[in-house]
Symmetry: C2
Subunit: 889 residues, 2 copies
């Protein structure tokens, strides 16, 4: 029989940390913590296989589940000496989701399950704390009603607020047992009114309801959106964790908190976290009360009022300190932990690898190598390559005179400038129209994910460093200031007030997430200095990396940036960008309007010196390194104005004939320009264009070789080749021009002529093409378009449907479609090498900067990847990780 | 050492008829005729390998050629007892091209080579005919100057005309030896003036000049155009044939002619040909003098003046009769022969398989089986499947009252209606703009090929049944009337006059190529009855055919036509054609404008009964046969009007909101609609559309099954699938609807759900897709577009360059690109079968009607091909031929 339920408790566990696929991250680590002797409330995990079965069986359960569940519940009862549903000695449990990958805030949780009108009295007697019992019951009703019965929180909040108003209470702490009892009655009436059914009193119904809600929440919109954003396959499913309740809300020696074993923002080796006395777990994360620091040192640093946990409950702190050291030593990584203290006894509720900023990740990895905890290869493997992107976010220039509106918590580093927006929907809409927006909220919830994603930065007036806003913003790499309590938002008036200043929606502010500052106006931003840890780790990465990393760059600025980031050459210089330059477009248009070869040549002669100068600049920056130059690629109509207004403007500015311009634009119109008269087809029809470009390349290379004594290595790339003969014809011309230019200059330089593999036919006929081509560069953007038959420009109409229905697990324009496009890349690599041993192979599509795609490139044995300059560090690291992975197996 | 030169003569030959690739058709057959004892002037063939080398070596020759050439020339001299360049006994030779495939009029010929100011005197003495010698010399100068020195014929014609005018001569025959001698002097002066160099007197220079001209002519525009039109690869090259001259212009017992062993127009078993007394070979083909019939019977039938060859030179006729019978028995096929009689002695200059109309091809093949000459399989193999198309040309209805302008020769069968046009360039231009044109010329030359191709029919006022116009028109399947001598063309006035009637350019006339009639006005045309020979041959073809042949059809008329032509089902019914119907487009547009699923469903409910009725009609015609129905494929914007005028018209006509129409059209605009939101992507986004179509199909099939007691076999085809999951999602819905409809009706019918393989990814992932798909139909139109990255609608801008530069040997949208697209088809077939044994495989792109592509389909083992109804007979025959070829090896 399939084992659906894995128990743990009292130092034993059916599972362990290696079983994340089956038990989810939380479940696997609860089992592991049991095994290493940490205090964990006993419980069990229902496997992710049940989730998969649940959906396959039309939202019903495998038959064998019920018996296993009963047995596991009984086992908890035995361990804690209570019984589920017992009137006098009731067992209460928590029900939590737990997927393979951490999905904070996405899945729902129910605490205090097992309370009803009878057991609440038992709990009151047992605890000797009637107020605690009814506070727990009202929390349970609200949470259960929200998660399982789909009722809004506001229903319960309104009841509580109005009760407090009528009775003149300010704070929840002022309410006594009888107050909560009365509120529980009101809550139950409200549920019955809304659902036309009383609040469930049968504890087994409660249990099954909560389990079902967890599984159903796997397919709610927030979860789907989060998975899409984090590339988590739908097929993984979630597990359900059920544990005996421990209560942080049992009085002044009870508490709950979350902590990181090192600082998740900076990586510093300091125990770091927050807690609340007399509270339940969700209170900290939800950001409803602002928590205090755990350590005395941190408490002092943050200038908080009240006491740190270290001071308030020193015994609990001692247990916690012991646990965190054990955890870090055991897991050999920074941990993110949740705990609860019940009457002075510490209980560990969760541990997991802590999310961290890229900067922290680097520091922690480098520190742990220094501490002898991990090897340099492990350090390299540990960094999420994509997350390095965060390090490249701008910061505010030191010279900028800051007009500080307010300060909050430095919840996520980086700086941004944008318009003030108060709603996530509006943020998304504005961003879609090209606006930079800053999202300002009292607090955020999973419903705000899309708005946070759309925003350049997030500011909240409530919540701490581990609030929803802070955690999610760090994950997204968005600057965030949380808990900026001076900000008073008035959504109705569309403004916020801070220290008496009124800031209207749409006004420009700046956010410094590293300093926790919100500034008035548009700050001057600059790129960050990369830390020493960055350099250390990149050096380790470069040591193990096999593939070279180049950049896609055409301007001197891009090329310079790329080289600074460690690019080992240019993998794609798109020459058409040079043609669009304002100083040249007139000559380009003159060429396009020419009806004769002679006319075109005349116009091209004007472009030649400018094009040569472009290459001189690039080659100077890249002296001694390979520079792949793609000859003109886009269809000619892209260089012409199209609307009558644009045509008139161009005609007036250039003296070209407006009618002729318009006619020519119409004449060149294409139904499917992506599949039209472009790439090497232009070279075949108008050989004089490529002739000019080849001449400019050779002349520039020779000039740089003479000036610097160090020649660049031009790799002349012919785009959109489908047949051997296209390349043969064009290569013959290029070689001829090279010979002429070099003979005239009396200088010989090394160069290669090759092609992009960006059409399925080119991949399939790579053997023939490799007879002529000296290198291949996989143009996976176009190869994806043609292989899948999807126009990237038009895909948005259905890509959402395709991702949500799981037709594509990931957007194939972001991560290479390995089964389809990847297979063609493999075929081309194999056939190309068979025809020309050691042919140089690279990739220059946007996939060249995507870690998953880079891993694929390593597996195919490409020689290099090329990506945008800012992704070069990511590619260097991802290539190193891919090499390590491939060496392992 | 490579053998570049193959000699023949006096009953011996180095080569034979099997060596056409190396020796060209003419050379191989000259060798073969020698071997079977026919009288052939001795000579030799320079191989096609020399032509290839000539271009590879930058228009120079392999070093070893010269010595082999000298030796072969000496050998001719020995055989005929003359010497090349000898003053007293000069050997004269002809130099002719001869490619592997016959290319009439494409390549150039030089006769009488070896004449100069010295040898002409020797020839005069030797022949005792000074007039003949100088007539031959002036012919040589003109021909050589035209072909080798690139001077126009008019230069020489003007000199001759003005000489005749000054001396008051009417006919060439009136000129005497001294006249020709004087003209030779004028010709030489003219050459020297034009080329700034005297006419070459060195006979070896002459020889190398002529050989070079033949090789160069392989790459002239006419040859390139002809190859393109006839799918002849450039790589084949041409051979050069050099033979001792024999003279048909040596007097009244000399003659020259061409003949067919059977009638090339009807196929009747009658010796058939034309000759001219005292003329050289090119005179007949060029159509300058109108020749007479060879046989007495034919002469009488044609009511010619003068005498037939049978009467005029009975001894020559007897030799010829003997030769033609030997040739037909030897080659077992109808032959096209050229001969010359010199002083009563017959010499065979050429034999080759005779070009024939499709009708003649059928009759000859069927007759030869009856004569016991060939087997039925040979008969099937012999017919050019593409040429069957000719049989499907319209004829003029018997009931039509003909207003006959004039009669000429019935040079190529079929009938056509069009505007009178006098120039080939104008014909091409008008045709490109959709006009039907009839090309009227005095005579045609290879320069007119593009105009003839563009025209619906050709009429010439001069020339016979074997004139250029006649031969080419038959090859192209264009109706042609030749030698319509009553027509007087006045190009300047843009008109022709016939029997006093003036017909202006642009007026409509009709041509009956079978009757040789030119009619005023637009005749009523009808499809021809297919002859009994057609049925006989198709039955033989069907006996050996393995693949089924289906038709692409969506209207009842098309389906009926297809079934009449022998289609065994429908391979592609495009349902969008039904949506465009005027009576439905309003509901379709209403659906597209709906913003909700409910709104779309409401509109679809209106379409359902109409769509169902479409299928009822198709299924009734195809009862018992498979019908593949493709669900909606094009992007929705194709159904909307786009310009503001169209939108206004549609809005007025339908009551739909104009502004909304325009907005929706703009909203749906795509950059690359070919790669956009179409095919199954519509089915994923708007499942209700495919639901309606599936319902219509099932309901219609059940209705027909009930009505006829014979159910159709619907094969429901999901287009543009790239992934297994797309098909899985849609198939589940279709199956569900099928189940519902069948349960309700209480009837079960067989059906299949499958997909088009039209994207490279689908081909590559065919194994996964075949887990779901019950059949594959290769949509090679779109597969070609995506694999090659070429938009068919935009390809015309560069396809010409690509064909002329040999990048594509054939247009890949006409004949399947086997190396690229074909490889994907193979991969898909192999992987598809591996995943689902016996999965049904077919092709429904336009390649399904192209014989070369059908041969490929046989080699991959497809189950059927599907093509347009009128190409079904072609596909049946081509499939049979492919099966025969594949059974041979």
């Amino acid at each position: 029989m399939v084992k659906y339920v894995y128990s743990f408790g009292a130092g034993n566990a059916d599972g362990d940390a290696s079983m994340k696929s089956l038990l989810g991250g939380k479940g696997a680590n609860l089992a592991e913590m049991n095994k290493i002797g940490l205090p964990v409330p006993p419980g069990f995990t229902i496997t992710t296989e049940v989730c998969t079965a649940f959906y396959e069986l039309g939202r019903t359960y495998p038959a064998a589940l019920a018996a296993q569940l009963d047995e596991a519940m009984a086992k908890i009862g035995e361990t804690v000496g209570k019984q589920f549903g017992d009137a006098n000695n009731p067992l209460l449990v928590s029900v939590r989701s737990g997927a393979r990958a951490s999905m904070p805030g996405m899945m729902d949780t129910v605490l205090n399950l097992g309370l009803n009108d009878v057991t609440v009295e038992g709990l009151a007697k047992l605890s000797g704390n009637r107020r605690f019992a009814f506070d727990s019951y009202r929390r349970f009703i609200q949470m259960y009603s929200n998660v399982v019965l789909d009722l809004g929180h506001h229903l319960f909040e309104d009841i509580l607020e109005s009760y407090k108003e009528v009775n003149d209470f300010k704070e929840d702490t002022e309410l006594e047992a009888s107050d909560w009892e009365e509120i529980v009655g009101k809550y139950k009436s409200a549920v019955e009114y809304e659902t036309e059914s009383p609040f469930p009193q049968n504890v087994n119904d409660q249990l099954w309801g909560a389990i079902g809600a967890v599984f159903k929440s796997w397919m709610n919109n927030r979860a789907i959106f989060y998975r899409k954003m984090h590339d988590i396959p739908e097929s993984w499913g979630t597990a359900v964790n059920i544990q005996a309740m421990v209560f942080g809300n049992m009085g002044e020696t009870s508490a709950t908190g979350v902590a990181f074993t090192r600082n998740p923002s900076t990586g510093e080796k300091l125990f770091y976290g927050e807690y609340l006395i007399n509270a339940q777990g969700e209170d900290v994360v939800a950001g409803i009360r602002t928590p205090k620091s755990i350590t005395k040192a941190q408490h002092a640093l943050m200038r908080e009022d009240g006491q740190s946990l270290e001071e308030a409950l020193p015994q609990v702190y001692a247990q916690l300190h012991d646990c965190y050291l054990k955890l870090e030593n055991h897991y050999r990584d920074m941990q993110d932990i949740e705990f609860t203290a019940e009457n002075g006894q510490l209980w560990m509720l969760q541990t997991r690898g802590g999310k961290r900023t890229a900067k922290a990740a680097l520091k922690i990895a480098v520190d742990m190598v220094a501490e002898g905890m991990i090897s340099t290869c492990e350090a390299v493997s540990r960094i999420d390559a994509s997350a390095l992107d965060q390090l490249l976010h701008p910061t505010i220039k030191a010279s900028y005179a800051r007009d500080i509106l307010t300060k909050g918590l430095p919840a996520s580093p980086g700086a941004a400038v944008g318009e003030v927006i108060f709603s996530s929907d509006e943020a998304e809409e504005k961003a879609a129209h090209g606006h930079s927006v800053i999202l300002i909220r009292e607090e955020t919830s999973p419903e705000d994910i899309h708005g946070m994603h759309a925003a350049k930065a997030i500011v909240t007036s409530r919540g701490g460093m581990t609030s929803h806003a802070a955690v999610v913003a760090r994950g997204m790499g968005r600057p965030c200031v949380s808990g900026a309590g001076e900000i008073k938002i008035d959504e109705v008036l569309g403004q916020f007030i801070v220290r008496g200043r009124v800031i209207k929606k749409g006004e420009i502010i700046s956010v410094d997430g590293s300093a926790g500052e919100v500034l008035f106006g548009a700050a001057d931003l600059e790129q960050p200095e990369l830390s020493g840890d960055f350099g250390t780790l990149m050096a380790w990465a470069d040591d193990v990396r096999r593939m070279k990393v180049r950049a896609n760059a055409e301007t001197p600025l891009d090329a310079k940036t790329a080289r600074d980031f460690g690019a080992e050459g240019i993998g794609l210089c798109r020459t058409e960008h040079m043609f669009f330059d304002a100083s040249r477009i007139a000559a380009v248009r003159e060429m396009i309007l020419s009806e004769t070869k002679a006319g075109r040549e005349h116009a091209l002669e004007k472009i030649l010196p400018m094009q040569r100068q472009d290459f001189v600049e690039l080659f100077t920056i890249m002296a001694g390194l390979p520079v792949t130059i793609r000859l003109l690629d886009p269809p000619l109509h892209e260089f012409l104005p199209h609307s009558e207004e644009d045509v008139a403007a161009v005609a007036a500015a250039t003296g070209l004939n407006a009618k002729k311009l318009l006619e020519r634009a119409k004449e060149l119109h294409e139904f499917n320009p992506m599949l039209g008269h472009r790439g090497c087809r232009l070279g075949i029809s108008f050989p004089e264009i490529y002739d000019m470009q080849a001449r400019a390349i050779f002349e520039a290379a020779i000039e740089v070789a003479k000036n610097l004594g160090k020649a660049p290595i031009p790799e002349i790339m012919v785009p959109l080749v489908a047949t051997r003969k296209e390349l043969a014809i064009l290569k013959a011309r290029i070689d001829e021009i090279g010979k002429t230019v070099m003979t005239k200059a009396g200088v010989n330089i090394l160069y290669l002529v090759g092609t992009m593999i960006e059409l399925p036919r080119a991949a399939i006929c790579a053997d023939e093409i490799a007879e002529v081509a000296e290198f291949f560069s996989f143009g996976t953007n176009d190869l994806t378009q043609t292989t899948l038959g999807i126009s990237r420009d038009d895909a948005s109409r259905f890509m959402g449907d395709y991702l949500s229905q799981g037709i594509f697990e990931r957007d194939p324009f972001v991560t290479l479609d390995q089964k389809g496009v990847g297979e063609l890349v493999k075929i081309a690599a194999t056939r190309g090498r068979a025809a020309r041993a050691g042919i140089k192979l690279g990739i220059c599509g946007e996939h060249g900067g995507d870690p998953a795609s880079i891993e694929f490139c390593e597996s195919v044995g490409l020689d290099y990847v090329s990506c945008s300059p800012y992704r070069v560090p990511i590619a260097r690291l991802a290539a190193a990780q891919a090499a390590l992975k491939s060496s392992l197996g």
